[in-house]
């Protein structure tokens, strides 16, 4: 643009008459970009430009892990390890829950919250325990999620905990418009919190109510933080992303039982490798009365319910 030939609206443009020139366009573009970045909250430039986890090279992942650990250390005031333990060869995880033994004490719910760094306020809980009447059987419409008697089990009732069923044909994965959630080779459906755009399509698609959205900035007291984390699992999440049960990926990929299975006082929760014929989970599937929740939806879950008696 020639300085001697002022545009229709050069310099301070009082009236904005005529068509906007290149300078105005660039100014508007910069302002728009700044606005977009501002709308992303405290997002750093590296984070803003980060690609999908599955497309990252190893050295890129290492840089990201270091960045996250630094951020968490600054936020919580203590060192946090963010791991990326990979799936084991020949392992597909399965879970079975004994409906005849669960007493609805919710020890699993709170162990899960502690292990997986779920937000205390706004409250997020990956496991929901339903109280139902024995006479009605599994009748979700009449289930009570908020029971709080002095002691459990209540006479005439049974309890059914529900969490992510790690479906083989996962509707949540199918509907995600950006590929931020997928099923790992060991059968765990995970979320890349840095790629999730918070559209909540997956929540609408999940028939088990297993996905949860961070409506507010997650409140997690530093003293209660579990510092042993996994990138695709229990690392602290930002506001505006969806999260879900990962079978305690940070534990199970190291060979440990999930936290909910370890805490259960009645031993109702069984976990193991579906590919191992000698595993506990295979024994359950081969010898007990097993059923799938909402089997008619053909989601093919790897979470089973059984009657141990």
């Amino acid at each position: 643009m020639n300085a001697s030939h002022p545009g229709p609206c050069s310099g301070s443009c009082p009236g904005g008459e005529g068509t906007p020139g290149r300078r105005e366009f660039l100014a508007a573009a910069v302002a728009g970009m700044a606005g977009a970045l501002a709308g992303c909250g405290k997002l750093s430039m590296e984070e803003f430009l980060q690609r999908n986890f599955r497309e990252l090279a190893k050295d890129e992942i290492q840089k990201i892990l270091l960045r996250l650990e630094k951020e968490y250390r600054a936020k919580f005031g203590k060192p946090v390890r963010v791991g990326i333990e990979e799936p084991m060869q020949g392992v597909v995880f399965g879970y079975a829950l004994d409906l005849s033994r669960c007493i609805g004490c919710r020890r699993c719910v709170h162990a899960c919250v502690r292990e997986n760094n779920q937000s205390r306020d706004p409250q997020i809980q990956w496991i929901r325990v339903m109280e139902m009447e024995k006479e009605l059987g599994v009748d979700v419409q009449h289930a009570n999620h908020y029971y709080d008697p002095a002691v459990v089990p209540r006479e005439g009732h049974f309890y059914m905990p529900v969490q992510c069923h790690q479906c083989r044909r996962a509707p949540c994965v199918k509907v995600c418009p950006v590929g931020a959630t997928w099923q790992e080779p060991d059968g765990i459906t995970v979320v890349d919190y840095n790629w999730c755009i918070g559209c909540r399509y997956c929540m609408a698609a999940c028939p088990y109510g297993a996905r949860h959205f961070n409506w507010g900035e997650p409140q997690l007291p530093a003293a209660e933080l579990n510092t042993e984390t996994h990138y695709l699992g229990n690392r602290p999440r930002p506001q505006g992303v969806v999260e879900k049960c990962t079978f305690c990926i940070q534990r199970t990929r190291k060979g440990l039982y999930p936290a909910c299975a370890e805490i259960c006082p009645t031993g109702s929760r069984k976990f193991g490798n579906l590919m191992d014929p000698k595993s506990e989970i295979r024994y359950v599937l081969e010898n007990k009365r097993v059923f799938l929740f909402k089997e008619d939806l053909n989601t093919k879950p790897k979470f089973y319910y059984f009657y141990g008696v």
Binding site: P122, Q123, G255, L256, G272, E280
Partner: protein, 194 residues
Amino acid sequence: MPLRTPAIACAPRRGRRLAFLLGALLFLPARAQHGVKEKAEHPAPQAPEIQVPAPPFSEGVFPCSSCHDGKTMKPDPKRRELGMHTEIELKHGPESRWCLDCHDLADRDSLRLASGERIPFTSSYMLCGQCHGDKFRDWRVGIHGKRTGRWNGEKQYLLCVHCHNPHGPRFKPLKPMPPPVPPEKIRPSKGGRP
């Protein structure tokens, strides 16, 4: 609660022989001191031994032989109302069940199977398994009861009596942990967002 590794757990292959030899060296004298008599009179039961944590005795009651030593208190096999142990209310099985069905008359620090075999309290699961065979079978494969440890390796077992009081085995009700916040009680926090 201290948990020990089960004997059936997978030790690394290397060193397994060494561990066995060391175990044998440590184990044999202990048996010689404590259990030789038992072995001579009561052959060890055939079921494989499973390592478990110590049974949850009430404080100060074990060893039972500190009172039931066979001298100051003569063993009395007669079925009767006891003057001692009145805190125990037996609610297990038929009315005819009584103490010496499970506790050994001559050696109160042991239990006895229906066959007359004497077993230590740490093997009490064998006693339970006599009547509850289906539960015993499931317990041994890790289906009945709680397991901790590794899904692909060493697991820690609990005895039946850690969860079921043998004198009143019905699982005791528990106070549930707090319910989730119901939707109507979620209030917007600072910034207008819930």
